[in-house]
C-alpha cells in the first residue's frame, strides 16, 4: 500500500472498547434477534441465529476479542446488540453498537505485538484507542 492510502474499517463497540474490522471482510450488519446457545461450542460462542433465512454461528465480540474475558456472554431472547456478518464465513460477531466506517491510513496503525491475539494493530488518535482486529484470528480462536 502506498503511503497515505487508507483501508476502510467498520468501527464498532463491544465491552466498552472500540474495534475496527476491514470492511471487505464484512457482508453486512443486522440487529440481533434470537440467538440460541449451541451445545458443545467454545465459550466465546453466543450461539446460532438466523439472518435472512440462513443460520449463522454467532461469536460474542466481548469474549472473542478478549477485551473483558469476565464479561457475561449474552444469550437467548431477542437481546440487544448488533450482528456484524462476516463475508463468506457463515459467522457473525455480536457487538454492542455500530459506530461508523472509517478510512485509516496505513501509517496511523501501530502494529500490535505477537501476543495480542486477535488485535492486529492500534490506532491511538481521537477519543479512545481503536483496535483493528483480524477476522481470521477471531474465527481461528472460535473454531479451536
Amino acid at each position: 500500500m502506498s503511503p497515505g492510502a487508507g483501508e476502510a474499517y467498520l468501527v464498532f463497540r463491544a465491552g466498552g472498547e472500540r474495534f475496527g474490522l476491514a470492511v471487505d471482510r464484512v457482508q453486512g450488519v443486522a440487529r440481533a434477534r434470537q440467538i440460541v446457545p449451541l451445545p458443545g461450542a467454545p465459550p466465546e460462542y453466543a450461539g446460532v441465529t438466523f439472518v435472512r433465512g440462513e443460520p449463522l454461528g454467532v461469536l460474542d465480540a466481548v469474549r472473542a476479542l478478549g477485551c473483558r474475558p469476565e464479561a457475561a456472554v449474552r444469550i437467548g431472547g431477542a437481546g440487544g446488540g448488533f450482528l456484524v456478518i462476516l463475508e463468506g464465513e457463515r459467522h457473525a460477531l455480536l457487538v454492542d453498537r455500530i459506530e461508523s466506517v472509517e478510512e485509516i491510513p496505513a501509517e496511523a496503525l501501530t502494529p500490535a505485538s505477537a501476543e495480542s491475539g486477535t488485535v492486529r494493530g492500534i490506532v491511538s488518535s481521537g477519543e479512545s484507542a481503536l483496535r483493528i482486529v483480524s477476522v481470521d484470528e477471531v474465527l481461528g480462536g472460535g473454531k479451536r
Partner: protein
C-alpha cells in the same frame, strides 16, 4: 397411477413445451451474448446456442414433430459452421439465427394449440442454407502446425476441440494441461469448480478422463485450457485445485488481431413464452422461501406489539378492524409459506424421462432388447432431491441393462421372451418416496457372490458366509473391478451409490431370484428441506427431533425409574429403557438436576433410549437448515430451524444422539 407407455399425450406435450421454452430462453441469452461480443464469436456462447438447438432437435424428433426436427437440424448446421470457424459471425448470421428462433417459438405455440406436426417457414430454412453455403469456401484446414498433444489425449479430441485448440494457438494463447485427482465418490463438484476456473481464466478447450489412477479411491482428469499470455499458470492451477499443471509446446503462429466484422447493435429477439411455465433458478426459490420465513417472523413481532396497543385502545370499531386485518394477514402469510415451498416440488417424471432416454439409446448398443415401463411418474419430490437422485438411479438402470438383462438369444434359450423387461415403480410411503427398479434378467446367486467376494479379498478366508450375500454388492471394490464397460461407465460401484443415497438420508436394498431377475429399492425422504419433527422444550430451549427417529412419548412416574449403576432405567413396553435428560446430555442444563418426567423414546435401527424433556410442544413440519461444518457444536446438533412464532429450534439427529448416549458393546442398557 399411470403407465408411461399409455400416458396421455397432453402430458408429454406439456413437458416438451416447457423444455422448449427453457431451451429457447437459453438460445436467446446466448444470441444476445454473441451480439454484444463483436467479430470474434465467444466460444461459450456459440456452444451454448449449438447445444440448446441440438437438444431441441432431439426432443422434436422424439416427439414426432418432423417439421421442427428438420428445421432445427438446418439451424444446428449453421451453428456448427459458426463454431468450427467455417463462417464468420456477422450481422447477417445474427439476424438469420434470431429469425429462426422466432420461427421455432411460433411453431411451439402452434403445437400448444394442438397442431400435430406444423411446417416451418421455407423462406427462413432457405436463408439458413444460403448462409451456410456462403461460408463453405472458408473451410479451415489442418495444416499440422497446431500444438503437439500427448497421443492418448490427441485420440480423444473431437473435431470441435481440435478446432478450438488451433484457434487458441493462432491467437497466441498459452495452452496448458491441469491435472486433477479427485475422490471418486464426490468428484463432480471438484471437477465443476476446476472447469469453471479454467473457463474463467481463458477458455476450457476439453476435459479428458484417465491418465494415472493407481489409487482406486481417486479419479484423474486432465483439463486443457487456452489462457491469455499474461495468465499465471500456477495461480489458475491452485484456484482450480489441480495437483499439477503443464504448459504445451505451441507450433502455431500468433494472431496479430483481425478487424472485426460490423454488427447490428440490436438483434430482434422474441421473449414470448410458449408452455405456460417459467424456468426459475433454484436460488431464487430459496430466496422466496427464506423471505416468507422472514415475513412469518415479522408477523409474530407485529402480533405482539399489536396485542399491547389494542389492549389499551378504546375505539372498539378500530380494534375490531385491526384484529380482522391481522387475521387476514396471518392467513395469507401461512398460505404464502406453503405456496413458496410447493414451488420446489417437481413431478418425478422429469427424472424418469431421462432414464427412459438413456435406456432407449443404450440397449441397441449392447445388443439387447427390452421394454422400460414407468409407473407413478406423477409423484412429486423436491427439485434438489430429483437432481441428486439422477446419478444413483442412472447407475442402477445401467447396471440392470449391462449385467441383469440377458442378450435375446440367451433369453430364448431359457424360455423367456426375447425382450427383457425393466420396470420402475415410484410411490410414496409416508414421507418417503420409494423407487423400485425390477428387471426380469439373470438374477444373482448368493454363493457366486460370496465366492467372488472371497476371490477379491473382501471376505477373509476365516470369516463365515454373510447371512445376506446380496449385501456384498454394496462393498467397495466388489462391482467395479471385474468389468468396466462403456455402459456401466466410469467404474463407480454400488458402494458409491449407497453412500450418495445416505447423504440424502436415504437407502438402497436389493433382492434377487436367480434366473428370474433383480429388484433394487431406493428410499429417500421427499424433501431434505421440510422435516416433520417433534418439537420439545427443555431448559427453556426448543429442540426438534425428526419423527422418523421417535418411537413414542409418555409421562413417566418417577417412582418407576430405577438406577442401574450410572444409568437411570425405566421399564417400557416390557423392556428396560435407559433414560437420559436431553438437556444434560447435550450440555444445555446443569448436571445432577432433577429429571423431567416427559419421556421421548428415540429409536434408530436396533438402538433405543428415553430422553426426558420439560414439555412436548407438538409436531411441526420445519424447514431445517444444516449448520455449516465450521460452526463448532456437539455432533448431535445437525441443523437449525426457524419456527413460525419466530423462535429458533436446534435440530437433533436421533441416530447420533443414541450413539453418543449409549455405551458401545453388547453390555449397554439399550435394546439392540
Amino acid at each position: 397411477m399411470k403407465r408411461a407407455g399409455q400416458k396421455d399425450e397432453a402430458l408429454h406435450r406439456k413437458d416438451f413445451l416447457a423444455e422448449t421454452d427453457g431451451l429457447l430462453e437459453e438460445s436467446r441469452d446466448a444470441l444476445a451474448d454473441l451480439a454484444k461480443a463483436g467479430g470474434e464469436p465467444p466460444p461459450g456462447a456459440v456452444n451454448a446456442l449449438f447445444r440448446a438447438i441440438h437438444s431441441l432437435k432431439g426432443l422434436s424428433a422424439m416427439m414426432g414433430f418432423s417439421g421442427l426436427a428438420g428445421f432445427t437440424h438446418e439451424l444446428e448446421g449453421l451453428l456448427d459452421a459458426l463454431r468450427m470457424g467455417r463462417i464468420d459471425l456477422s450481422g447477417d448470421v445474427l439476424e438469420v439465427v434470431a429469425e429462426a428462433l422466432e420461427a421455432v417459438a411460433v411453431t411451439a405455440g402452434r403445437i400448444q394449440a394442438g397442431e400435430q406436426d406444423p411446417e416451418l417457414p421455407h423462406g427462413t430454412a432457405a436463408r439458413i442454407r444460403r448462409t451456410v453455403a456462403a461460408g463453405r469456401s472458408r473451410d479451415v484446414a489442418d495444416d499440422g502446425s497446431g500444438p503437439r498433444l500427448p497421443p492418448d489425449v490427441d485420440r480423444m479430441l473431437t473435431d470441435y476441440e481440435r478446432h478450438r485448440l488451433r484457434e487458441s494457438a493462432r491467437r497466441g494463447r498459452r495452452l496448458a494441461f491441469f491435472t486433477l485427482e479427485l475422490p471418486v465418490d464426490s468428484f463432480e463438484s471438484g471437477l465443476r469448480k476446476a472447469m469453471d476456473e479454467v473457463a474463467r481464466s481463458g477458455e476450457l478447450i476439453g476435459t479428458f478422463p484417465g491418465g494415472g489412477g493407481r489409487d482406486p479411491t481417486r479419479i484423474v482428469f486432465r483439463l486443457l485450457g487456452g489462457l491469455p499470455p499474461e495468465t499465471p499458470l500456477d495461480v489458475v492451477a491452485s484456484l482450480a485445485g489441480a495437483s499439477s499443471s503443464e504448459l504445451l509446446e505451441c507450433g502455431g503462429t500468433a494472431l496479430q488481431g483481425e478487424p472485426a466484422a460490423p454488427l447490428p447493435t440490436q438483434v430482434p429477439l422474441s421473449v414470448r413464452a410458449t408452455g405456460g411455465t417459467v424456468r426459475v433458478p433454484l436460488e431464487k426459490l430459496e430466496q422466496l422461501v427464506n423471505l416468507t420465513g422472514e415475513l412469518a417472523f415479522s408477523r409474530s413481532a407485529l402480533k405482539r406489539s399489536l396485542g399491547k396497543v389494542l389492549s389499551s385502545a378504546t375505539d372498539r370499531t378500530a380494534r375490531f378492524e385491526a384484529q380482522k386485518a391481522f387475521a387476514d394477514l396471518d392467513r395469507t402469510v401461512t398460505a404464502l409459506g406453503r405456496a413458496a415451498l410447493a414451488t420446489r416440488f417437481v413431478p418425478v417424471e422429469q427424472l424418469t424421462a431421462r432414464l427412459s432416454r438413456v435406456v432407449a439409446s443404450m440397449a441397441p448398443s449392447l445388443g439387447k432388447e427390452l421394454t422400460f415401463d414407468v409407473y407413478g411418474g406423477e409423484t412429486e419430490v423436491d427439485k434438489v432431491l430429483a437432481e441428486e437422485l439422477a446419478d444413483p438411479l442412472l447407475h442402477i438402470v445401467r447396471n440392470a441393462l449391462d449385467h441383469g438383462i440377458e442378450p435375446p438369444g440367451e433369453r430364448e434359450a431359457r424360455g423367456k421372451p426375447r425382450a427383457g423387461r425393466l420396470t420402475l415403480m415410484v410411490e410414496t410411503r409416508g414421507r418417503m418416496v420409494v423407487f423400485t427398479l425390477a428387471d426380469d434378467g439373470r438374477g444373482m446367486e448368493g454363493e457366486k457372490l460370496i465366492r467372488r467376494a472371497r476371490e477379491k479379498g473382501l471376505l477373509s478366508p476365516f470369516e463365515p458366509d454373510p447371512p445376506d450375500p446380496l449385501e456384498l454388492v454394496f462393498l467397495s471394490g466388489f462391482s467395479t473391478a471385474e468389468r468396466v464397460s462403456e455402459v456401466s461407465g466410469r467404474g463407480v460401484g454400488l458402494d458409491v451409490v449407497r453412500a450418495n443415497l445416505a447423504k440424502l438420508k436415504g437407502n438402497v436394498r436389493v433382492t434377487s431370484t436367480p434366473g428370474r431377475g433383480t429388484t433394487f429399492e431406493v428410499q429417500v425422504p421427499m424433501t431434505l428441506v421440510l422435516v416433520e419433527s417433534l418439537l420439545v422444550r427443555t431448559e427453556g430451549f426448543y429442540l426438534a427431533l425428526p419423527t422418523s427417529g421417535v418411537r413414542r412419548a409418555f409421562r413417566a412416574d418417577p417412582a418407576r425409574v430405577e438406577r442401574r449403576g450410572e444409568t437411570a432405567v425405566i421399564v417400557d413396553e416390557g423392556e428396560p429403557l435407559p433414560l437420559f435428560s436431553l438437556a444434560t446430555h447435550l450440555g444445555l442444563g446443569s448436571v445432577g438436576a432433577a429429571m423431567d418426567d416427559t419421556v421421548v423414546v428415540v429409536e434408530q435401527g436396533s438402538l433405543r433410549a428415553g430422553f426426558t424433556v420439560s414439555s412436548i410442544e407438538g409436531m411441526e413440519d420445519v424447514i431445517v437448515k444444516p449448520l455449516a461444518d465450521v460452526i463448532p457444536r456437539s455432533r448431535e446438533v445437525t441443523g437449525a430451524a426457524e419456527l413460525p412464532g419466530g423462535s429458533v429450534a436446534l435440530t437433533v439427529d436421533p441416530g447420533l444422539l443414541l450413539e453418543s448416549a449409549l455405551p458401545r458393546g453388547p453390555s449397554n442398557g439399550g435394546k439392540r
